[in-house]
Symmetry: C2
Subunit: 341 residues, 2 copies
């Protein structure tokens, strides 16, 4: 019997569904991804509408999961599905609920794991957590975190997510929501964060943060020669900044220096908390390679107490970006299997 | 058989030694405390001098431990000693070593737990960690953290120490030194910390930090009516500030507000990392009660993401200050017993 796990990642736009073996091979992936139901404009978004959308979504997702299982069993009838891991925003690992997710059309607290489990009573594990926590588990089960008992994962996307591994397990905290490092204060009174707070880590060290730093530096230096000055904020991406840096643009290089400085200082904080063996960076912003890793490492070392210096690695995630969401979610199942051995 | 644990706290000036039962009753305590050997001025502090001082210290400490055991056995011959827990600066739980402790006269890395274990081969557990980690264990075994699986302990003394409990165990990290929250950056480019860093938590939210805030505010407001303006920095204490606040002094009240604001913001960071059930404050600065707890709580709530609001308690430690060091160290043994059950 070849054992597999199903990974589901619920994004604001699409839902990814895949079947993964214990080595991290994606045996099946739904392509294109399934659309996630969208929020209706107020006052359309009532409890009744939410219930209807949720009912249909669970039913569609169930059909997709059944289809995925059929697909892999067609290839290998000996396959045994151990469970379903779900990555979702505002997901509570302990209760299996999605709670007040601002980018999903579901009102209040949704017993999502139970709804799915109800349709698959044969599976021992239907577990859910947020996408960054899932990514950390994915790194531990399939990626560079294999064999590590203490590490941190920072996902630098539109926002900044994090998953913390302590003593070989994910830190869920007392309520199931731990690991929200994107919202620690790194510049008191600084940039407005999407959550309403000021000076949060994700307002500086995410793809969005990099974009904001571009315009902060353009404002500061008024450098009309920089190719970045020709691009409106709505079209700016980390990739554009990377390309400009590659061509020697001073503003672009400075953007990565500034970002790396704050990133490194904050990772030093992470080390003072948890003393991890490594910190993995994942996502578009991390793809800038040495432009971001080098200043981050320099800054981290400078901000560390002597006892922690030259010990902690900053590493690129080994999860492939295209399948990371499915891998992370599916890793939840392997982790449960391990815990219950 | 009544089971007991021996707690030893190695401070820069004195070493506390006590015998504690599983309910946290101190059955014996060495009074006065035993002196810790002092560093000689350079170039007196050579490896040979270090070795001699260490040899004598271990031998003296061994005699004191034997005496302590005899004392409690005189009262109750049925007593069984399960082990020795040691709180020490720069202590590594995993290796049992004290490493490059700046305030102790021992050069380099000292295999302290082994040296003690060698003299007490009959004990299953001789364990060592730093004093703040020990305090967190003390809170978990004997104090307000009983039954909690996730909490943080902040000890606000001359410096600021911390111990983090995740999933029911202390976070030691990959190298045994985790939980150094006193050295996270809370004001980028801010006050010089004792460790050489800038803007660290302990430079603001410790007894020393409170003192520094007094003079920062006196400098800012030039308030010659404040009784605090009559006291030289060398004589300022948290207690003096507390007394002045009680008498209505505006500077003193503002000192606690400023301290509480930074404390609360940083505790919010701790919550974003670990989502603890509670954060315990211990030490002289925490003795200021509502002057510090109220602004800290207000600030923490303001800096939390909505999902964490009104969940996390800030509580005074339930360990008595006079015996906390011994209790914390002795708790290491009960924790090992629990782990090995």
């Amino acid at each position: 019997m070849k054992k597999v796990s199903i990974g589901i990642d619920i994004g604001g736009t699409n839902t990814a569904i895949g079947v993964v073996d214990s080595d991290g091979n994606v045996l099946y992936e739904r392509k294109p991804q399934m659309p996630t139901p969208q929020k209706m404009e107020n006052p359309g978004m009532t409890q009744a509408v939410s219930d209807t959308l949720l009912g249909k979504y669970v039913s569609d997702l169930t059909a997709e999961i059944k289809n995925a299982i059929e697909m892999v069993k067609n290839i290998n009838p000996e396959i045994e599905v151990l469970g379903i891991g779900i990555g979702a925003p505002n997901a509570n690992y302990y209760s299996g609920t999605i709670e007040y997710a601002p980018n999903l059309p579901f009102v209040g607290v949704i017993n999502f794991a139970s709804l799915i489990q109800g349709n698959f009573p044969e599976f021992k594990y239907v577990k859910l957590t947020n996408d960054a926590n899932a990514a950390a588990l994915g790194e531990m089960i399939y990626g560079g975190g294999k064999g590590m008992k203490n590490f941190a994962m920072m996902t630098l996307g539109t926002g900044l997510g994090s998953g913390l591994i302590v003593n070989g397990d994910l830190v869920y905290g007392s309520d199931g929501f731990a690991g929200e490092c994107g919202h620690v204060t790194v510049v008191p009174g600084g940039r407005l964060c999407g959550c309403g707070g000021l000076g949060h880590f994700e307002a500086y060290c995410s793809a969005t943060g990099i974009k904001r730093t571009v315009y902060e530096l353009l404002a500061k230096y008024n450098d009309s020669e920089s190719p970045l000055s020709k691009i409106p904020m709505s079209e700016m991406t980390s990739k554009v900044v990377f390309d400009a840096a590659e061509k020697g643009d001073r503003i672009a290089k400075k953007v990565f220096q500034v970002t790396g400085e704050i990133l490194g200082r904050t990772l030093a904080d992470t080390v003072h908390y948890l003393s991890p063996e490594a910190i993995f960076l994942f996502g578009g912003a991390a793809a800038a390679g040495d432009y971001i890793f080098k200043p981050a490492k320099d800054s981290m070392e400078r901000h560390l107490m002597p006892v922690f210096r030259n010990k902690v690695k900053i590493l690129p995630s080994e999860l492939k970006e295209s399948s990371a969401a499915i891998l992370g979610a599916s890793a939840l199942v392997w982790k449960e299997v391990e815990k219950n051995q």
